[in-house]
Point group: C2
Chain length 256, copies 2
DNA sequence: CGGCGTATTGACGCACCTCAAGGTAAGTGG
DNA sequence: CCACTTACCTTGAGGTGCGTCAATACGCCG
């Protein structure tokens, strides 16, 4: 829990917070009073925001940095279920469950981050605001959609195809040159995010050369995105709007 | 689209409709006016309610019968992404997407069914009602949760374990004797719902005998549910609340 | 009877996992 | 400066779970 010391109100420390999708259409006065209940925390790299199994008492906004959602199994395996980029939120899904629930994964800072905490009850109250409720509905349905698409991709695409799909959109999501960029994460992290083993990741990386993507250390060069596109869509479930799907899928990296 | 003939209002034809979770907490007068916009359709077994790729213009309530959500890939494979039982709804997720969207799967009646249609706009208006919005939020977050759990299960459980998990909850969801019941669906349908091949289903069925479940034609006998439970949870991601997970997972069959 | 829908069983292949062995680069201590 | 560790990645050999293809069997109906 953040320190109880008197901290600046979130909207003073992070003026951007009022432009988040969650608050779109909310009038300024209401927004002021809503944001008043937030507490700010500085979370250094590698530190936990919460742990798998903790009770769900808070809703979080990632103001800067990024958070890894890591799910661990009793037998020691783990899987990165999501990477939450700055500007996105954490915990929407859990809070509207009836009855107390537990965190399904641990949240760990991938880099030094700043987080705003809100009590779970706050979000429920905020949802009484028509605009907020609508924004939440849009965000939740978008999230559901990305989960559905991810499931389809897992079922229909090979590891190489999933990786190509991921790489193709990664540059886009991070605002990089989509044809030539550096991986913003370690390969191990990406492998974990894709739900494959590091070794498989390595092997896929080299095999991707023949499909138009070159991976040299952390450098990615997309030689022919149309060809890569075709490779990905080979057995994709919705050839006609595969691009849209990938955009969505890539945003799983970045669900609002 | 249902015939434009003058049909009874949904709340007259299906008094139960007002007791759906979606309408919990909505006052009677508002409910009357909301339901007024619904159209009733009789949908015979094997008929399509809509097809994959159709524009999403309606929101549906399944008043009786059940609907299969079938997703097809261009290479001819298909997967049952969900089975919607009577009393549940269809299309919540799509309607709150910004911009027009397409159906992600086809909806086919598994048995003779009765469906109430609402225009997509109706749902957006209904969401202005605070109680409806809250119900939708709960339902969507529940749905997201089931998707997450399903993904975890796919990653961590073998086909046999998933099948055991499914069978263990199937009786429960359908209100049958959980130790001795008949499959309410064909084996091929269940295999498709689990995302495995029929042949694999067959093989798993026989292998389950050694774990405490006997499958004889359509008859299921659960000899020792505690043992089955242990078998399922072996590499489940949340041993301590695995039961809860399974309950949720089983409800994927039946998302409200 | 033949045709059809449904289920089972066997043989085989493939994609990915697993385990083990390097290999490179950055950081640490002497 | 070098030896050592640690983190991260790559490569190879072998195993396995499930998909794929093919054959067979059973019940049902026209």
């Amino acid at each position: 829990m953040p320190t109880s010391r008197d901290l600046p109100a979130p909207q003073q420390a992070f003026p951007d917070i009022i432009h988040m999708p969650l608050f779109r259409g909310v009038n300024h006065l209401e927004l002021e009073s809503l944001l008043h209940h937030g507490k700010i925390q500085y979370l250094p790299r590698r530190k936990h925001l919460f742990r798998q199994g903790d009770p769900v008492d808070y809703f979080y906004i990632v103001c800067s940095g990024s958070i890894q959602l890591l799910r661990e199994t009793p037998d020691g395996r783990s899987h990165t279920s999501d990477i939450i980029l700055k500007g996105k939120t954490l915990g929407k899904t859990e809070i509207f469950k009836s009855g107390g629930s537990r965190q399904q994964s641990s949240a760990i800072a991938l880099e030094d981050s700043i987080i705003v905490w809100f009590p779970a009850e706050w979000l429920k109250n905020a949802a009484r605001n028509q605009a907020v409720a609508l924004n939440l509905l849009m965000s939740l349905s978008h999230y559901s959609r990305t989960l559905e698409i991810e499931a389809v991709h897992k079922r229909t695409m090979t590891a190489s195809q999933q990786m190509a799909c991921f790489l193709l959109r990664l540059g886009e999501v991070h605002g990089l040159d989509v044809h030539h960029f550096e991986l913003p994460y370690s390969k191990a992290l990406i492998a974990s995010r894709l739900g494959i083993e590091r070794e498989t990741f390595s092997r896929c990386a080299s095999s991707l050369k023949q499909h138009g993507i070159e991976v040299q250390d952390a450098k990615i060069v997309v030689h022919d995105s149309a060809r890569v596109q075709r490779y990905i869509c080979e057995c994709c479930s919705a050839r006609e709007d595969c691009t849209a799907h990938q955009k969505l899928a890539a945003k799983v990296l970045a669900v609002a």
